[in-house]
């Protein structure tokens, strides 16, 4: 089948700072112009270069009609730049892309909403901005209003809307776009649970209608379930392209293994001090068969440290603090119930301590481990921040229809019981 989108060596170069708020002023330009001869001299000596970065470098791919392509990658990988180039917001520096259909881009929900205008007026304005014809908006008006569930507030200025109402209205308009190619950037990161569910349902519907969708998200669960194929970008180039499931798994595995394991072989350069030195640190699934797999919210895992004790007879123990990506300390744990060495003096030598964390306890997200080495259970002799940084990913098997993050610092699996107390709801 012929592709509906074909990108050939698309590249985009940014002058560093140009994306940020660095405005030229006339005065600067004049000063620059006066210094120009000098600059030319300097440039010849190769001293002065305009610093640039390639946000996209030689990116080539094709999308078949009706395909839903997920684009994943770390922050700054070039995902948004790619969407901006394909939706003609910014020009590529080099390369070429051909689109065999009308494109609509949804890089933000509610682009161009005016706070002073009413919901009704904003539906028209936003629709026009997203590329809908007036007749088309009129035809779908009732549907949009019904989808947003804002019938009562249609003639209220949107500045009086709650943020949830605002999002609902914005998404309602956007989801009624009927382009052949739809470009979406992380719009699912907003809104409450039921709204997200609705949005994803709508996106699935759009995909089933044979529309071509490009979808950027950090939500791997959404990527896995909505996209047929995925493109993984890193530093502006394609790392992997293929089935969404495979690419998403590989992405998670590679990206988050960076600080899963650390080792210092030479005691002289290892972190530590004259009392204790770190040799190895790692986080891994408790089941050794799963060594290479990512840790999911269900997986029991082990945090392991190996340290050299340099002072014979020191009474040491480790103390770990686990932080989540919001910097909240989840818990502090130490080997207080460890049966063999706890409270005993350590001879000089290498010691290994393992902390077993059960599955169904942690929430998804990036977690950081802070290590304290405590002497005589009171004096901290050594401390290492972020000695391990690892990700716990969501488990697809637990999901029903809700793709957002489960709120809370932890996500324990708890015992529940439900029973019927009385029939027909009558109290006696």
């Amino acid at each position: 089948m012929r592709p509906i989108v074909r990108a050939e060596s698309v590249s985009k170069e940014y002058a560093i700072g140009a994306r940020e708020a660095v405005y030229d002023t006339l005065r600067e330009s004049i000063v620059e112009a006066m210094r120009a001869p000098l600059q030319k001299l300097r440039r010849r000596n190769g001293e002065r270069h305009r610093e640039t970065i390639w946000a996209l470098r030689e990116v080539s791919f094709e999308i078949a009609p009706g395909e839903v392509l997920g684009i994943i990658g770390a922050n700054g990988a070039g995902k948004s730049t790619l969407l901006k180039v394909l939706s003609r917001i910014t020009e590529p520096t080099a390369g070429r892309a051909e689109l065999y259909g009308r494109v609509a881009s949804l890089l933000e929900v509610g682009t161009g909403f005016h706070p002073e205008l009413t919901g009704r007026e904003n539906i028209y304005l936003n629709g026009a901005i997203l590329g809908m014809r007036r007749a088309e908006i009129e035809r779908k008006f009732d549907e949009i209003v019904a989808f947003a569930e804002l019938e009562k507030f249609l003639d209220t200025p949107v500045k009086r809307y709650s943020s949830g109402m605002y999002m609902r209205l914005a998404f309602a308009v956007a989801s009624h776009l009927e382009p052949e190619i739809l470009v979406i950037d992380e719009v699912l990161a907003v809104g409450d649970a039921s709204f997200q569910k609705k949005c994803l349902g709508k996106m699935g519907e759009v995909a089933r209608q044979g529309r071509t969708v490009m979808f950027v998200s950090h939500n791997m669960t959404a990527i896995r379930s909505l996209c047929s194929r995925a493109l993984w970008l890193d530093k502006g180039t394609i790392v992997e392209e293929g089935a969404a499931e495979t690419v998403a798994t590989n992405y998670l595995r590679t990206t988050f293994s960076t600080l899963n394991q650390r080792a210092w072989d030479d005691p002289l350069t290892a972190p530590g001090n004259d009392k204790v030195k770190l040799h190895r640190a790692c986080v891994r699934p408790a089941d050794s068969a799963l060594q290479l797999d990512a840790i999911s919210v269900r997986t029991p895992f082990v945090i392991e440290f190996e340290c050299w004790n340099l002072v014979p007879g020191a009474c040491l123990n480790l103390s770990l603090v686990l932080y989540n990506d919001e910097g909240v300390a989840l818990f502090n744990t130490g080997p207080t119930n460890e049966p063999v060495w706890h409270g005993k003096p350590f001879p000089a030598g290498l010691f290994r301590s393992q902390c077993y964390v059960p599955g169904d306890l942690m929430n998804e997200g990036t977690h950081r481990v802070q290590l304290h080495v405590v002497q005589d259970q009171s004096v901290v002799v050594f401390r290492a921040d972020d000695v391990l940084v690892f990700d716990i990913i969501d488990s697809a098997e637990l999901r029903t229809a809700w793709y957002g993050k489960v709120i809370g610092a932890v996500r324990p699996s708890l015992q529940w019981r439900t029973e019927m107390v009385d029939a027909a709801g009558e109290r006696s």
């Binding site: 003609r88 549907e143 009562k152």
Partner: protein, 304 residues
């Protein structure tokens, strides 16, 4: 909090909440042979794509409509501002320049003379000021959606026409009050309005693009507008200047235009030389500024 409920909206409850997208004629098996859109780095010279502008004409309409609608929201006097601005200026000018300084007015009562100048000037000044700041004020649109960027300064200029029309009503009332008889010359009035609009577009578009890169424009604009007014025959007639200097004044395209408005409204002979010169300068400016705009447009999304 004041949340009004409209009666009409409640009837919408009857529609089923299960939104369904209507079928389109598009079929994935039936792709066009030629790409609908080809994206590549633009050549140094890019012409204005009129077909693209035409395709987005409804957006232009909605942006004008938004500007008009929003302009006087939450103001006590509302649309009256469109009248007050030229009217009060006229009264002050009449007092200071007409009465106290005794500026001549070509034998037309000074108030109506000044108002006939202020009418196009107020439109022009507001238009270039609004469109000059329009792109920077629409950064959220420029970085998120594609459309021909010229629409933004264009809509800002066009929205000023509504104020112009309102202020024109006062002009008519003043003419009736002063017993001015209209002549066939008034037929040229729409042409003059078009010329003013095109000039404002040419200046506004260029300033708006420049403003994206050099935020100095925002500060220079009010000063520029004030200076320009004194160099245009708004409060004085062109005949006020010695003949030797008058040609210099006509290099300013607003000179021919403002004098043209007076000739058209008061049935005076037109100064065709000045008017032709204005039209030529306007056209030249418009061509240059659309070229400059297209050239600068490419980096808007990256630097705004």
């Amino acid at each position: 909090m004041d949340i009004s409920t409209s009666g009409k909206a409640s009837t919408l409850n009857s529609t089923t909440p299960t939104a369904k997208i209507a079928d389109t004629h598009f079929s994935p098996d039936n792709l066009p042979d030629e790409p609908v859109v080809t994206i590549q780095p633009n050549k140094a010279w890019s012409v204005v794509e009129l077909s693209d502008l035409w395709a987005f004409r409804e957006l232009l309409y909605f942006l004008i409509w938004r500007d008009v609608k929003v302009r006087y929201k939450q103001t006590g006097l509302g649309v009256a501002w469109a009248i007050l601005q030229p009217l009060l200026t006229m009264l002050i000018f009449t007092l200071f320049f007409g009465r106290l300084a005794g500026v001549p007015s070509d034998n037309i009562p000074y108030p109506i003379f000044a108002y006939a100048g202020l009418l196009p000037w107020t439109f022009f000044a507001n238009a270039i000021s609004n469109s000059g700041n329009s792109l920077v004020g629409s950064a959220n649109l420029i970085t998120k959606v594609y459309f021909p960027r010229m629409i933004i300064p264009g809509a800002a200029v066009a929205a000023g026409l509504v104020d112009f029309a309102i202020a024109f009503v006062i002009m008519v009332l003043l003419m009736i009050y002063y017993g001015v008889m209209i002549t066939w010359s008034v037929l040229l009035f729409p042409v003059l309005v078009l010329l003013t609009t095109l000039l404002a577009l040419g200046v506004g578009m260029w300033l708006s693009a420049l403003n994206v890169k050099y935020r100095d424009v925002r500060f220079a604009l009010p000063f520029l507008i004030q200076l320009w007014m004194f160099l245009s025959p708004v409060i004085y007639p062109a005949s006020f200047l010695p003949l030797k200097l008058r040609w210099l004044l006509s290099l300013n395209p607003m000179t021919g235009i403002i004098e043209g408005y007076r000739s058209s409204l008061f049935g005076r002979p037109f100064n065709w030389t000045a008017l032709t010169l204005s039209a030529a300068v306007t056209l030249g400016l418009l061509i240059y500024s659309s070229y400059a705009f297209r050239r600068m447009e490419r980096t808007f999304a990256d630097i705004i």
